[in-house]
Amino acid sequence: MAGVVPRLLLVLLFSVITQFPLLARSSSLDLQITNAECRIDLTSQIVKVFLTLKVENTGTSPASELLLAFPPRQVDRLALVKAACTVGKKKKKTYVPLEVKPTELPDAPNDTKLFSILLLNPLKTSETATVEVLLILTHCLEPFPAEISQSESQLVYYHDSAIILSPHYIKQQTTYIKTPSTKVESYTRVEPTNHAGTQIIYGPYADRPPYSFSPIIVHSENNSPFAVVEELVREVEISHWGSLQITEHYKLAHAGAHHKGVFSRVEYQSRPSISGVSSFKHLLARLPPRVHSVYYRDEIGNISSSHLRGDSRKSELEIEPRYPLFGGWKATFVIGYGLPVEDFLFESPDGRRYLNFSFGCPVVETVVDDLTIKVVLPEGSQDPTAVAPFPVDQHLETKYSYLDVVGRTVVVLKKKNVVPEHSSPFQVYYKFNPIFMLAEPMMLTCVFFLLFMGCIAYLHVDLSLHK
């Protein structure tokens, strides 16, 4: 039920937009933000910003589009923008996702990038609505000092603005910044500013004109693991014989403050609480349930330090790179596992088959700079199409695997800047005739048959010239 309502509403919304496209655009700036609350979570390497915007239409015509503005530096690091609006009263409150798309305004200053949020239904004059926005930013905690020794803890800068950059007029706004620990070296004061425990509160500020900006820097301690997968290639090989083989190639790096000077094993082992606090040596990969034949290795062989725990709902693979990762250190490894095909491969009503698999990186709390997913379809499959919940680059390749003749079609999906929130399922649809499953066994049978025939023929034919 819950899924149907938003879809209906979306359809409705689309019809509204298509009827009044010009109207909607011209009226968007008539919206006014009556109350904005911005909560910034700096506890991990991934910065999460929750905006709660109360908007009111002060113009004369109905407005359906709310604009968000970002400085150009932030846009590159923006992994995800999600918006939702609340529907219903207190008890029956539900969130309805709203469509977000990049847009442009002719009079936006200094290369400000804009995203527009389409409201559920256009706001009529002096109507209000509440919109919740989630922004996820990566790589925006800048370590300072940029190089630390083994015994130091890691301090990072966070740059932002005390006031939300917005093309709309803001009546009142408060910004809450949550730091990972109480240890805050410094922060910019934009009165009124309060610092208590792990929270810094900016504001409330009142009556800010559009595009107001007041830069702030928060310099705080952050020892959470800055595990960044610089490149991840996930290869999903479908076999209709019953198994889904997944191989994931990781290029892992510690993106925090670079390690400087000596690495002393004695200190690392004997005083773990003060030595190498910003380093990490464990990673947790959440794999689907019923996973089997898991391996964890790199280019020079098996890495023996891993543990697999599993129950009926999920499997957890705890992996340890060969050495603890300090700032700037890198490691590469491969994780591979098999999954029962019936959990992921389905037949759609129109007769096509589709793979329903999770996008994103199974290792928790990591940022993936460059993600490539390769879905290797069985030999003989046709018309592959991929459906992902967000825009991805895709193209087709051909791969030759065990005894292939024509090669397998590979659907390649690429996305940059992937965060755990991207781990939603995607689908790959294709047509497949089960007769192709028999091609390779038949081929092998024929080869052996011919071999034995050849042997028999050789033994029975006398090729000698002299009788």
Binding site: V262, F263, S304, D404, S464
Partner: protein, 778 residues
């Protein structure tokens, strides 16, 4: 097998025997392959030890860049700053074999990685070697002996030690090539076929490609030819077996870059040429003898002998002069240490420092060939009854290989196939006698005895063989004329020979004695199998780069080497140079992909001595040597924390010895207290201040407070010290590998510099000249 049309029982039984022996061979192949998989099952599919890593790296290069780039490959990642011409200094057989295998698999779209192919090359070739042994022994003593020998070879521990899955080394392929070359030689000798002679030359070429041990072939075969000539067994078959091998084989061998002109220039090959001349003279003599009358022949002999002697003397004088002009008398160091077992320890410490170049101990014979050691004499006796060309060859083979295995433990590998062949002959002969006497005394079951024996003895392949063998033992002496239509003729001959034999040579033993003897032989075989499986599973399957230990809370894995190599690979610059003792050179280039100063290809003694000198010098002098070699990181292996005995401190005396051999200011007695090597408080100050000691024990005292070394079982001598020119950049989890970085040269502070200048200006010259002497790279 084809001749089943005349519906008689005998041909059918032969067909059955052939099929049975085919399946036994197949099973032997599977046995040879699978007994070597313990390493993969117990550990993982990984390349083992040191040299295999180099071969693996070369194979990767070959697969990536193709054969032409491979021949021209100049490797700049090793022996810095000299580099090494890989294409011209490596025996390419193994690499080319694995590369070809990989190419075949990939052309069939079987996506195996290069590593997988390399790991399984050795087991595949051991199966081939077992089949080659079958062929060779079959030529010597018939099918039964062949099958027994093949089964024995499939699991002989000596060969397993070099060919477990992952042990990707030259020997794995070379033993197959060796046996196969011998087979083709004996086959040619038996048939006189030029076809086999050509194949023999090609097989010899493959052996030359694969291993430096090919000199064994090119000396053994001439020895056998000479033996045949001397004992009056010269025949045209011998000529065909030998002459083409020398001509074609030498030409082909010269094609291999690493051999090149050595094939005609070094003393290892002279024997073959000498015998080549002799066999021609003998052939000529036989020819002349054939066309002249006896009287004329005597005249000719006196004439030729007198002229020939003069010519011979002249030629020999020239040769001796040539050979004597070279310092090593034209022999390579390794060959010399074979001929004179004390040579290496006297003159070449680098050869002597390798454990596999030491002479073996008696237990290692028992470990490596087990019960075969007792069966070999019986086999030799069996070879003398009757003595044929082929059996005299295997006798010669075993005698020479016993000697070589006694000199170098590594050459036990050459001895093992000979021991297997001999034991195969002995065992099969014994079974032959016993089963025949049983059959004779129980005439009622003589028809079924084949099947019975085949069923009961299924536990060991050894007992299978007697079943096959008793029925269809071939005529041992192979002095038959060249056969055109082999198949049919062979059957007729065999049929006849068996009938005649049962009547003719009855060596009948009492029934009970035979049964007990057979039982004991089976028991012996069973012991052998148990020992081999144990050796394969426990003794020889550890890959040595990952160590395991069993403790009360389960299996503990020490994966420190790869931890360190992976760290170097990912966290240092691509062009950084890493210095370590030469043992770890191949692994560092292959696993860490970093440039090393010296590696396991110990071709440049001076370079190794330089590293040895640096390791045995005090910190500052060592820093200067390393800095002049552009070294950025120094890697030492330290086992003191976990008790890993083959670490650098235990190898340290060799570093001192090799270093001191070239740079005389390093003196071994400085590191020994009363002739004893120790690192505790009694150690000499030179020892306690040398770089190796410092790098190994830096901050070791902080682990347990006492600095107790678990390998040397003592507290170390100097516990608290600081490093001034090196800094610790990485130490693995169990401290087994420690990596240090050279600190950059210190900036001079102006005031200080002036002070020191005025102070030492007078003595600086002499000091600098002093350091110059010490540091060979300035």
């Amino acid at each position: 097998m084809a001749a089943t049309d005349d519906a008689k029982a005998a041909p059918l039984r032969y067909a059955f025997g052939n099929v049975l022996s085919f399946f036994i061979l197949l099973l032997i192949g599977i046995l040879a392959f699978s007994i070597r998989l313990f390493s993969v099952i117990k550990y993982e599919s990984v390349i083992h030890e040191f040299d295999p890593y180099f071969n693996y790296r070369v194979t990767q290069y070959l697969v990536r860049n193709g054969i032409y780039d491979f021949w021209n490959w100049f490797d700049d990642r090793t022996w810095y700053p000299l580099g090494r011409v890989i294409g011209g200094t490596v025996y390419p057989g193994l690499t080319l074999t694995a590369g070809t295998l990989w190419r075949i698999f990939n052309s069939l779209n079987i996506p195996l990685s290069v590593e997988t192919v390399c790991v399984f090359t050795a087991p595949i070739f051991s199966a081939n070697a077992a089949w080659a042994t079958y062929l060779l022994t079959k030529e010597v003593k018939g099918t039964g002996a062949g099958l027994t020998a093949a089964a024995l070879l499939a699991m002989v521990p000596s060969y397993i030690s070099r060919s477990v899955a992952g042990s990707y080394d030259n020997e794995a392929v070379a033993i197959f090539a060796l046996i196969f070359t011998f087979y083709l030689y004996v086959k040619t000798l038996n048939t006189g076929s030029l076809f086999y002679a050509t194949l023999n030359a090609i097989s010899y070429f493959y052996m030359v490609c694969s291993w430096g041990g090919y000199t064994f072939i090119i000396n053994l075969i001439p020895m056998h030819v000479l033996l045949c000539i001397v004992t009056g067994r010269y025949s045209s078959r011998l000529y065909i077996a030998y002459a083409p091998l020398v001509v074609l084989g030498t030409l082909l061998a010269a094609l291999v870059p690493v051999v090149g002109f050595n094939a005609v220039m070094t003393s290892e090959h002279f024997a073959s040429f000498l015998v080549f001349i002799i066999i021609h003279v003998v052939a000529l003599v036989y020819y002349i003898k054939g066309i002249l009358s006896p009287k004329m022949f005597k005249v000719a002999v006196t004439l030729v002998v007198s002229v020939g002697l003069v010519v011979c003397c002249a030629v020999i004088a020239v040769l001796v002069a040539l050979v004597a002009s070279s310092p090593t008398k034209g022999w390579s160091g390794r060959s010399l240490s074979l001929l004179d077992p004390t040579y290496a320890s006297k003159y070449i410490p680098i050869i002597a420092s390798v454990s596999e170049h030491q002479p073996p101990t008696w237990p290692s014979y028992f470990m490596d060939i087990n019960v075969l050691a007792f069966l070999v004499p019986a086999g030799i006796i069996a070879c003398f009854s009757p003595l044929s060309d082929a059996s005299s060859f295997v006798v010669l083979y075993i005698v020479t290989s016993v000697y070589f295995s006694g000199v170098m433990v590594r050459l036990m590998l050459v001895f093992a196939p000979a021991a297997c062949i001999m034991s195969g002959i002995a065992l099969s002969g014994a079974f032959d006698v016993f089963t025949r006497s049983i059959k004779f005394q129980l005439p009622g079951i003589s028809k079924n005895s084949t099947l019975d024996a085949g069923d009961t003895g299924s536990a060991t392949a050894v007992t299978h063989n007697n079943a096959v063998k008793t029925e269809k033992k071939e005529e041992p002496a192979k002095d038959r004329p060249l056969r055109k239509n082999r198949k049919k003729e062979k059957e007729h001959v065999e049929k006849a020979s068996i009938k005649s034999r049962i009547e003719k040579q009855l060596l009948v033993l009492p029934l009970e004695a035979s049964i007990i003897a057979i039982f004991l032989l089976v028991l012996l075989g069973a012991f052998y199998v148990v020992h081999c499986v144990w050796a394969a599973a426990e003794a020889y399957s550890a890959p040595s780069i990952v160590l395991t230990s069993h403790s009360h809370d389960g299996l503990h894995v020490f994966d420190d080497f790869r931890e360190a190599y992976a760290w170097l690979r990912h966290n240092t610059e691509v062009d950084d140079k890493v210095a370590s003792w030469w043992d770890y050179g191949y692994q560092t280039t292959a696993m860490a992909n970093r440039t090393v100063i010296v590696d396991n290809n110990t071709w440049n003694n001076t370079h190794i001595a330089t590293v040895g000198t640096a390791m045995s010098s005090p910190e500052k002098a060592a820093w200067e040597i390393f800095n002049s070699l552009d070294v950025k990181y120094v890697l030492v292996v330290f086992g003191g924390l976990v008790g890993y005995p083959s670490d650098d401190i235990n190898k340290f005396l060799w570093m001192v010895r090799i270093g001191g051999g070239v740079f005389p200011h390093i003196k071994e007695p400085d590191y020994l207290r009363d002739g004893q090597y120790r690192i505790d408080s009694q150690a000499t100050p030179t020892m306690l201040n040398c770089l190796m000691y410092k790098l190994s024990y830096f901050r070791f005292v902080e682990t347990d407070g006492k600095a107790f070394d678990r390998v040397r079982r003592t507290e170390i001598g100097k516990k608290y010290f600081k490093l001034t020119h090196f800094e610790e950049v990485f130490t693995t989890h169990h401290w087994m590998v420690r990596i240090y970085k050279l600190k950059p040269a210190k900036n001079r502070i102006r005031g200080k510099m002036k002070k020191t200048k005025s102070k030492t200006s007078s003595s600086s010259n002499s000091k600098r000249s002093g350091t110059r002497k010490r540091n060979p790279w300035h």
